[in-house]
């Protein structure tokens, strides 16, 4: 069916003003925060579950692909259409439907921006805990689809730990309820199953989230080490000593030098690694834990441990971490961020391995990561215009992920599989594992109208076409 016909049908549902079909308009929706691209034929902006339901029915009837999209900040291509079709953007579904402070819950539409919810509930001393780096732009609907993490997931968990109920539109247009305000409910935990399905089984139209109490005290420490090994060993000792930081982030030497040049946060240019350690909770507990952290750092030859004396200093310590990717971006026209996870005890080893990969593939790789979780974010710097560099970048990425899996880890800790890593799923899962998982997909999205060709590896016959498509799509 031609795009104009689809657009006309969609216009009947949401009004012609809320449908885009001109090439110069739809191309704004062909990318996300990662490297993959794919151009939709039509983009639609519904405002209600009824409209989303009608759009799903239409897409199913016409057998046109339907890809939900929040703010487009994802890193694995989850919101990019692989088969043209319709992109459904939730940016007009931005109502906070209910703030129920007494029950520690809020009910929101999927287009509500993550940090806007925290701002809205701040007067109650509450906030929404999942804090992906994109939280000022990313939507809660997108967070649900990708099961987003963030710097503070070490203590607070990822998005699924903060979602108790959903209203979802399935591929056939049915609007279904899952869970509610209670943490558990009778029957299967459909809410838990749905979070992280990356738009492949339904489109969420309302979300019941847990709200978390703002802690009384926060301590932020920056520990500076001469070697990555010392920093890595410190990470392990902190957790095994029974200290439970809410964030435990590492920047390696290469990264912190870039960061320092870009932001002048005050990191020593000759250090091997820094750890950013944040503790929160009861004042007494935080004070004690901060002392304990300092002792552990010193035991592992930290050359300096800085403590933020106030909120301004705290923001300065975080600034380096938060701007790290942008700072690395100054070194090369493009970067590719990996998201593998290793058991905590492998951090030092995997960092050494990444260094050998960088040498082997002749690439620069900076490391910024959620060390407390063992969630790496090796940032591979390259030039997209150079096909050889692109090939080496992908090879390096795959080598690192293979190492993570061999060490007992996984290929993605928080960015999702999408179209970036779907062909790598067999590193982690057997054919039977994937076939069993796919049962959930096939029963809820039988025609693969919703977000096709994502998350699961393509059947062998289609695989080469997909890879070719993906490569053509790259900027």
């Amino acid at each position: 069916m031609p795009a104009s016909a689809i657009a006309k049908e969609l216009g009947k549902i949401v009004g012609a003003d809320h449908v885009l079909e001109r090439p110069e308009d739809v191309m704004l929706y062909e990318y996300d925060g990662g490297l993959s691209t794919g151009t939709p034929e039509v983009v639609v902006f519904p405002t209600s579950k009824e409209e989303v339901s009608q759009i799903a029915r239409l897409a199913s009837r016409m057998k046109v692909s339907l890809v939900p999209r929040g703010a487009g900040t994802g890193l694995s291509g989850g919101s990019i259409p692989r088969a043209g079709g319709i992109v459904l953007v939730v940016s007009r579904m931005t109502k906070i439907l209910e703030i129920d402070a007494a029950n520690r819950r809020a009910v929101v539409e999927p287009g509500v921006v993550n940090s806007d919810l925290s701002a809205a509930v701040a007067e109650h001393g509450l906030y929404f805990a999942p804090d992906p780096a994109s939280q000022r732009a990313s939507t809660i609907g997108g967070n649900v689809a990708e099961n987003s993490g963030g710097a503070h997931t070490l203590a607070h968990g990822v998005t699924v730990n903060h979602i108790t109920g959903l209203e979802v539109v399935l591929a056939d247009g049915r609007v279904v309820q899952m869970g509610g305000k209670p943490v558990d409910s009778c029957g299967y935990d459909l809410t838990g199953l749905f979070v992280g399905t990356e738009g492949t089984v339904g489109i969420v139209t309302a979300i019941t989230v847990k709200l978390t109490k703002v802690a009384e005290a926060v301590e932020t420490l920056l520990a500076i080490f001469n070697t990555v090994d010392d920093a890595a060993n410190t990470v392990m000792s902190i957790t095994s000593d029974g200290i439970t930081p809410v964030a435990l982030e590492m920047l390696d030497g290469k990264t912190l030098r870039c960061v320092e040049e870009a932001t002048h946060a005050g990191y020593p240019m000759d250090s091997g690694a820094v750890l950013l350690i944040e503790l929160e909770g009861l004042r007494e507990a935080v004070t004690e834990q901060a002392e304990a952290v300092r002792a552990v750092c010193q035991r592992h030859q930290a050359r300096e441990v800085r403590r933020a004396a106030n909120e301004a200093e705290r923001q300065l310590l975080w600034k380096g971490r938060k701007t790290a990717f942008a700072a690395l971006g100054r070194l090369a026209p493009a970067y590719y961020t990996q998201d593998g996870v290793v058991p905590r005890s492998h951090i030092a080893k995997v960092l050494r391995y990444i260094e050998t990969v960088a040498q082997k593939c002749n690439l620069q790789i900076g490391n910024i990561f959620h060390a407390g979780d063992g969630n790496l974010h090796p940032c591979i710097l390259f030039d997209l215009r150079d096909p050889d560099q692109v090939e080496r970048t992908h090879r390096a990425g795959k080598m690192i992920l293979q190492y993570c899996v061999d060490a007992g880890g996984t290929i993605t800790g928080e960015h999702g599989v999408g179209m970036e890593k779907n062909e790598l799923m067999p590193l982690l899962f057997s054919e039977d594992d994937l076939a069993v998982m796919k049962r959930v997909h096939d029963v809820l999205n039988p025609q693969s109208v919703l977000n096709p060709q994502k998350l699961f590896p393509a059947p062998r016959s289609c695989r080469e076409t997909n890879i070719a498509d993906a490569q053509r799509g790259r900027r």
């Binding site: 099961n147 009778c186 459909l190 439970t244 096939d442």
Partner: protein, 478 residues
């Protein structure tokens, strides 16, 4: 397949998969594994997921109903089984798939008991915060299937929060896994969530991986006492709005307290504790916190809130200051551990006291705890029960016991009415699952009650995982 010859044939066939010594069909032996008086035809103990896969393929081909079983601590939950051809025990699945203390992760076979996990991780001052009842018997697989929890749920969340990976065998005999062995993973669908609380209807769990947590060095419990539930809940709200972050925040109702204190060692059945007269349950006052030094209210009228804290002396001193005069006493050390053992074992105490009791798991939003418990108290009185409740009031997860007052068992309709009344008061997204009650009562109502989860979606998922409905047939919600 109901003739004796066929039965003999079944045991022989199963012996081919798991070895003759791990199959039994002896009447005396299989009777021990009866569920709601339904006796399994055979009981088997496979050694591996491969053996289970072979059994499941055979069962599927021959339309045999399979019931997975761990330590039999949660088997009384569910509707009466249609039939049990094969009771599949996980007792031999005790492998430690992975454990490195530095990683603070463990993966174990489904038949591993909670106490065995504790033996492995305890020496490293770590813990799996799953304080479900009967840890010596309760297995990891059973706990997952029943979404079991204990008082530590307040601080650490439930299994859905710290189970990171699962291995299982499907009804059609495929060995599958989902999740990972590391703390953070978003690759693939989260089938852990589907299996947790699925009561053995999606697949047979063979192993799982969990996040571990550091064991607090020092724990102390502050016991606050109140003359009414309303006052206890006002205190709960105050604790939750304070900077405190307790490990447990548990309410113990007056009758639960009496039962736990008198936890009988003998088999003597003691019934007939006087129900509180309606006027005795004061509601709606928020000012009546018991002052220190004031004479204590009798146990049979006292609502207790237990605040368990972990940390240094300075941290505990802060708890003391914040909690103030509502605290009647503090316990630590062995006394603290014993107190929480009793709270955790409330279900067992309830049924030791009265075989004919009914235990209901109530899951509601925080502010619905009060109305639901008040309604349950009224329903209990109207139907000749005594209501005894303990609960994680900081998360809205309660265990409500209804023990018959009269010596002769109540009629089935009295159970039905009590449950129905409770459910009538529960909000739409709340759940009230009857975890255990006499079989006669089960014949007259659904132990599951209503669900906030879309039924058609659940049924379609069940169908793709178990199209022949051979797993726990007849026992689940649909």
């Amino acid at each position: 397949m109901t003739t004796t010859a066929a039965t003999v044939g079944l045991a022989r066939e199963l012996a081919g998969f798991v070895g003759a010594e791990f199959v039994t069909e002896a009447a005396a032996r299989v009777a021990e594994f009866a569920i709601d008086e339904v006796v399994p035809r055979t009981v088997i103990s496979p050694a591996s997921p491969q053996q289970i896969a072979a059994v499941m393929k055979y069962a599927g081909a021959n339309d045999l109903v399979v019931v997975p079983a761990g330590g039999f601590t949660h088997q009384h939950t569910g509707s009466i089984p249609d039939t049990i051809d094969i009771l599949l025990r996980t007792e031999r699945l005790k492998d430690v798939e992975h454990y490195d203390a530095d990683d603070m992760m463990i993966g174990v076979g489904a038949g591993t008991t909670l106490a065995e996990v504790e033996q492995i991780v305890g020496p490293h001052r770590q813990m799996l915060p799953l304080d479900a009842p009967q840890p010596e018997r309760c297995t990891v697989g059973g706990a997952l299937a029943a979404a079991a929890h204990g008082p530590l749920k307040h601080a650490y969340g439930g299994l859905r929060d710290y189970c990171t990976g699962v291995r299982f065998v499907t009804a059609d005999g495929k060995m599958a896994k989902a999740g990972a062995k590391v703390v953070k993973n978003v690759a693939g669908y989260d089938l852990m969530k589907l299996l947790i609380g699925s009561y053995g209807t999606i697949g047979i769990i063979t192993g799982a991986s969990f996040k571990l947590f550091p064991r607090p060095r020092q724990m102390r419990t502050f016991v606050a006492e109140f003359a009414s539930m309303a006052e206890a809940l006002v205190f709960r709200n105050r604790v939750m709005c304070s900077p405190l972050a307790p490990l447990c925040l548990e309410m113990v109702s007056p009758h639960a307290q009496v039962m736990m204190q008198e936890s009988p060692k003998s088999g003597e059945t003691r019934v007939g504790h006087p129900a509180p007269k309606p006027g005795e349950v004061r509601v709606g006052h928020s000012t009546g916190e018991t002052r220190a030094g004031q004479s204590r209210i009798k146990d049979s009228q006292t609502w207790r809130v237990l605040v368990r804290a972990g940390g240094s002396d300075a941290v505990l001193a802060r708890y003391r200051a914040e909690l103030g005069s509502a605290v009647a006493r503090e316990v630590d050390g062995e006394e603290d551990r014993e107190l929480w053992r009793r709270v955790t074992e409330f279900p067992r105490v309830l049924f030791e006291r009265s075989q004919n009791a009914m235990l209901v798991r109530v899951d509601v939003a925080l502010q619905d705890v009060g109305p639901v418990l008040e309604a349950t108290e009224r329903a209990a009185i109207d139907n000749n029960f005594v209501c005894a409740a303990v609960g994680r009031i900081g998360v809205g997860a309660l265990l409500v016991g209804l023990a018959p007052i009269a010596a002769e068992p109540p009629s089935a309709m009295q159970y039905v009415n009590a449950a129905s009344f409770l459910r009538g008061v529960a909000p739409r997204d709340g759940s009230a699952i009857v975890l255990r009650c006499p079989v006669e009562a089960k014949r007259h109502f659904s132990v599951w009650g209503s669900t906030p989860n879309d039924l058609e979606t659940m049924k379609s998922i069940k169908h793709v995982f178990d199209s022949k409905n051979i797993l726990n047939r007849g026992r689940f919600l649909f």
